[in-house]
C-alpha cells in the first residue's frame, strides 16, 4: 500500500462586500475529488435556494442538472427531486443565520462518466438538506459556481474554501 499527502487546499474566497455568486475556475484536474466548504448567508431576502453550477472552461447554464435530496425540519422529514434543470437546487441559505455547506465532487476530472456530487446545507434557522446531484456531461469539471436564488447576494464575510483530495 502507498501513502502520501492528500487533502490539499486549493483556494479560498472571503467576501469583502455582497456578491451575487462565488466562482472557482481553472481548477486543476490533478486531484480525484474536490471538497467545497461554505460558511455563508445572504445579505437579504429571507430563505432562498442556494444553487450550484459547474462546467468545463465555462459554467454550464443549460438544463443538464438533476438532483435528489432528503431533508429534515421541526415537523418531519421529506425527500424531493428536480430534473432537467439549469442548476442543482438542493441547498438552502438565509439572511438570518450563517449556514454551513459542504459540496463533494467525486471523480470530478474523469472524462468517462457523467458527474455526480453531494451537497449538504445546515441552517440553524431552517431545514437541514442532504442532496446528490448529477451534471450530465462527461467533461472534467474545472469550474464551480454557487449562487443564491431570487436575485439575492451572498453577504459580506461569506467564506468559500476549495480543497483537492488525491488518490494513490
Amino acid at each position: 500500500m502507498s501513502a502520501g499527502a492528500t487533502y490539499e487546499p486549493i483556494a479560498k474566497q472571503t467576501l469583502a462586500s455582497p456578491s451575487s455568486s462565488i466562482t472557482f475556475s481553472s481548477i486543476t484536474g490533478t486531484y480525484t475529488d474536490l471538497v467545497l466548504i461554505l460558511n455563508a448567508k445572504t445579505a437579504a431576502g429571507g430563505i432562498q435556494l442556494l444553487k450550484t453550477r459547474v462546467g468545463n472552461g465555462s459554467i454550464d447554464t443549460a438544463t443538464n442538472y438533476s438532483c435528489t435530496w432528503i431533508g429534515g425540519y421541526n415537523g418531519g422529514t421529506f425527500s424531493s427531486r428536480d430534473t432537467s434543470s439549469n442548476a442543482a437546487i438542493d441547498m438552502r441559505i438565509s439572511d438570518a443565520a450563517w449556514s454551513s455547506m459542504i459540496l463533494q465532487f467525486q471523480n470530478y476530472s474523469n472524462s468517462t462518466t457523467n458527474k455526480t456530487f453531494f451537497t449538504r446545507s445546515n441552517n440553524p434557522n431552517d431545514e437541514i438538506w442532504q442532496g446528490v446531484n448529477l451534471w450530465r456531461s462527461t467533461n472534467a469539471i474545472n469550474t464551480i459556481q454557487v449562487f443564491p436564488d431570487g436575485g439575492q447576494s451572498f453577504a459580506t464575510g461569506t467564506e468559500a474554501s476549495l480543497y483537492g483530495i488525491a488518490a494513490a
Binding site: 500500500m1 502507498s2 501513502a3 502520501g4 499527502a5 492528500t6 487533502y7 490539499e8 487546499p9 486549493i10 483556494a11 479560498k12 474566497q13 472571503t14 467576501l15 469583502a16 462586500s17 455582497p18 456578491s19 451575487s20 455568486s21 466562482t23 472557482f24 481553472s26 481548477i27 486543476t28 480525484t32 475529488d33 438533476s66 438532483c67 435528489t68 435530496w69 432528503i70 422529514t77 421529506f78 425527500s79 424531493s80 427531486r81 432537467s84 463533494q104 467525486q106 471523480n107 474523469n110 462518466t113 455526480t116 456530487f117 453531494f118 442532504q130 442532496g131 446528490v132 446531484n133 448529477l134 468559500a160 474554501s161 476549495l162 480543497y163 483530495i165 488525491a166 488518490a167 494513490a168
Partner: protein
Amino acid sequence: MIGNAIAGTLGIPTPISLTSYESIATTTVGSGGSSSITFSSISGSYRHLQLRHSATNSSADRFFKIQFNADTATNYSYHYLQGNGATTSASAATTQSFGVCGLVPNSTTYAGIGITDVLDYSNTNKYKTTKSLSGGDMNGAGGYLNLYSSNWRSTSAITSITLTPSTGDFSEYSSFALYGIKGA
C-alpha cells in the same frame, strides 16, 4: 488553479498538515467488471479510515456489502435512512453476515457515489461502527440518497475491507479509494 474572486479577498486556506489525511490505496475496475473489491494489509498507524467511491453495477440498482477481515459470519448489523425523491423511509437489520455502505445504480453512465467513515478502526477495545453517505441521480430515471450505519461486532483491529455488490458486479470505471486519517 486559483479561484476567481468576484468581489472579495483571494487567499489560500489555512494550511493543514499535509500528512494527516493520507491516501492508502485506490482501485479502479477494468473491463469485464469485478465481483468484489478488497483492501488488505491495512496499516494500524492511522486513527480513522475513509472510503470514497464512485461506482455502477452491472445488474440492477443494488446496495453493496462491507465486510471486515474476511469475516462472513453473522457479526454485523445495520440501519439506514433513505430518500427517493418522493418519500423517506428507514429500516434496520440485525445478525447479518455483512454491513451496508452504499447503493450503486444499474447504469454505466450515471455513477453512484459515497463516503464511508470507519472511526477508531484499529482499537482493540471496541466494536467497529461505520457511517456512510451514498447516493445517485439519474435524471428522468430516478434518484436516491441513503445514510447508512453498520456495526461489526468484533474488537479486532480492521486490517482488510471487502466490498461486494448484493448481486452482479461492479462495472468498469468504478473506483474505490481508501484514506487514512491520523490522530493528534
